[in-house]
């Protein structure tokens, strides 16, 4: 049977459709609550989906991933607060539209743009995943090590001005990954005689702590009574006219292109793509002055671009074993527990999985679009729910979910410790993404580096064009931001001294 037929027919199981429905509702809800990110929701859901078979489990997690990227537009448009980081650029024009009495149009157009973007990403996944994994199958230890370094540095490189802190976070994660047995000799390291640590730090617990518990702890710490923006109540008309569709056509194309490219780059997600897509559409628009003031073009470009990254992120994650974004970093953890090892050999051995995943995302997109169009008014009501309900639910679900993975209280304790660590990272501006990435990819990095060096010494890495290329791009990703800042500062100083001299 062809992998396409096999992949799609696996989705006919009613259990999977039920999981997609549950994931869509959950994703829309978490997306609509500011402060609950898709990463956090997927981390949380990992706890209970691990008891499921891999495909239904993936259906829940992937659907949360897709539909959270629809639900998060609601608070972005109605209260100017992104539901998840992926909808930052939605606020630029979405809220301005809502204030002009076009909230209904903004919500519906945003949903259509998000659906289009996701579909573009899914097509990219179906076209690029298998060739990319076949290419990566030729990679030896030197190339695999370079690939891991590339993934890690990409995540650090996009951490704003926090390069050194990002590197420390990555190093911290890699060090945490050394807990357990040595990947070559099997010698126990840092286990302190605890059998629970012989397989390493339980990373689902660590991830839930870093992304779920830490976020709630921070919200509790900074919460102030009576703060927040009153949601918009006047929605105006809901559906785009023919004229609106014509306006949306160009930004749909621009957003798809930008998001597709950004999605393929490891560790870059919808937040970056949304902003880049919005900016690119502004540059190419006939009315750039309207951007940021309620432009339908701006809203469309931002949401299309942000959601076009989804397929690319899944492609990079599954074909190369490198997380496409932070949600994928969390999802890798669950996949490994299910026995699905993302990486070049996955699609070579199971090509039907590409189409199953694409099918899940496709159905999830349709369901999320339908919910978005029909129930936006209902989702908007959620914004009025007090936060203490959310805190209690997240804290308890995190604990019970973590316990459920291995029926282990030790895991719950690890999760709480990582929650405190995550809070520390958050308060001191250290990105948690590289910690998780280091923790997940540490074994792969160490094993491949040691194998590469055993086989032919450093020359083994230095004579591989692929490894050298990846390492060069990694170095560039780390060095470019500080060099660019220094260059800008120098230019500003030079301009200032010229002005002083002239006056």
């Amino acid at each position: 049977m062809s992998p396409i037929v096999e992949g799609f027919s696996a989705l006919l199981d009613p259990m999977i459709l039920l999981c997609i429905a549950a994931g869509a509702l959950l994703g829309m809800l978490v997306g609509a609550f500011p402060g609950v990110t898709a990463t956090m929701a997927v981390a949380l859901a990992s706890g209970f989906t691990l008891s499921l078979e891999p495909l239904p489990g993936l259906a829940v997690l992937l659907t949360i991933y897709v539909s959270a990227n629809f639900g998060d537009r609601v608070p972005a448009i109605l209260i100017n607060t992104p539901g998840t980081p992926a909808s930052i650029a939605t606020t630029f024009d979405g809220y301005a539209m809502a204030r002009k009495g076009k909230a209904g149009l903004a919500l519906t157009s945003s949903a259509f743009a998000s659906a289009w973007g996701t579909l573009v990403g899914i097509v990219l996944l179906m076209v690029a995943a298998i060739p990319l994994s076949r290419l990566a199958l030729n990679f030896g230890p030197a190339e695999m090590f370079a690939l891991v370094v590339f993934g890690l540095t990409m995540m650090i490189g996009v951490s704003g001005g926090r390069i050194v802190k990002g590197l420390i976070a990555g190093g911290f994660g890699l060090l945490l990954a050394t807990v357990g047995r040595d990947p070559i000799t099997g010698t126990p390291r840092f286990t302190f005689g605890a059998s629970e640590l012989s397989d390493g730090i339980p990373f689902i617990a660590a991830i839930i702590g870093l992304f779920g518990i830490a976020e709630v702890m921070n919200q509790i710490l900074v919460h102030r009574k009576g703060r927040g923006v009153e949601p918009i109540k006047d929605f105006g008309r809901w559906f785009p006219t023919r004229e609106d569709w014509r306006t949306m056509f160009k930004p749909l194309a621009i957003g798809s292109g930008v998001g597709g490219v950004v999605g393929i780059v490891p560790a870059t997600g919808g937040d970056i793509a949304g902003i880049l897509g919005w900016d690119q559409a502004r540059r190419l628009s006939k009315h750039p002055e309207e951007f940021g003031k309620g432009s339908l073009e701006g809203l469309t470009a931002a949401d299309t671009s942000s959601n076009s990254t989804l397929g690319g992120s899944v492609t990079t994650t599954l074909a190369l074993g490198l997380p496409g974004d932070s949600v994928m970093a969390v999802m890798i953890g669950s996949m490994v527990v299910w026995g699905i090892q993302p990486g070049p050999s996955l699609f070579a051995n199971q090509p039907d999985l590409v189409y199953s995943i694409a099918g899940i995302m496709l159905i999830a997109t349709v369901v999320a679009l339908v919910i978005s169009v029909l129930r936006m008014r209902g989702v908007a009501k959620l914004l009025e729910l007090p936060q203490h309900f959310l805190w209690a639910v997240i804290l308890v679900f995190c604990m019970v979910g973590t316990y459920a993975v291995n029926n282990s209280v030790f895991d719950v304790a690890v999760m709480l410790v990582f929650g405190v660590v995550g809070l520390f990272l958050k308060r001191f501006g250290i990105p948690p993404g590289p910690v998780v990435l280091g923790l997940i990819l540490g074994g792969l990095a160490e094993g491949n580096l040691r194998r590469a060096l055993e086989i032919g010494g450093p020359a083994n890495i230095l004579t591989s064009p692929i490894a050298l290329g990846l390492l060069a791009v990694s170095a560039l990703a780390l060095l470019a931001p500080p060099l660019r800042n220094a260059w800008r500062a120098r230019r500003a100083r030079a301009a200032e001294s010229t002005t002083t001299a002239t006056s």
Binding site: G161, R162, D182, T185, T187, F190, F389, W391, F397, L416
Partner: protein, 167 residues
Amino acid sequence: MGDTTTNPDAPATSAARPGRRLRDLIPALAAAAFAVVAFVLASQVPEGARLTQFSPRWWPELLAALVLLLSVFLAVGALRRSTVTVEEDVPEEATRQGAWRLTAMLATIVGYGVLWYFIDFRVSTLLLFIALTWLGGGRGWKALILFPITVTAILYLLFGVFLRVPL
């Protein structure tokens, strides 16, 4: 002045939102301490039979040295010049009430862990929900009775009945 002392939303301390320099110095010191401890512990890892060129100590020692180097770099940078301000870097200010609430919630969670050993999951979880909602500011029968009972029931049905987790 009275406002500052009585307002529960007032900043807990000046360290509630660490200054720009402290935001680099404290993590640098923490990372350095962690790296030193990791290096010392790594040097105590048994070498084994040395079947390969690299001992099990090699990678963690290398990483610990790297983290130490980076933390020194971060600390020196923080002391020598003002760091680049990244808007998303600046944490939102913590409140005194928030700090108390968080401490109380964590203590409640630890208490729940102990309670779980002695009484039924459903009862202990119900009590936990009531305590967390109350600490979070929830009042009234809907918040303290209806909500905890509903969520405990959902939680038990999902994990205990549907997923058959031994709770």
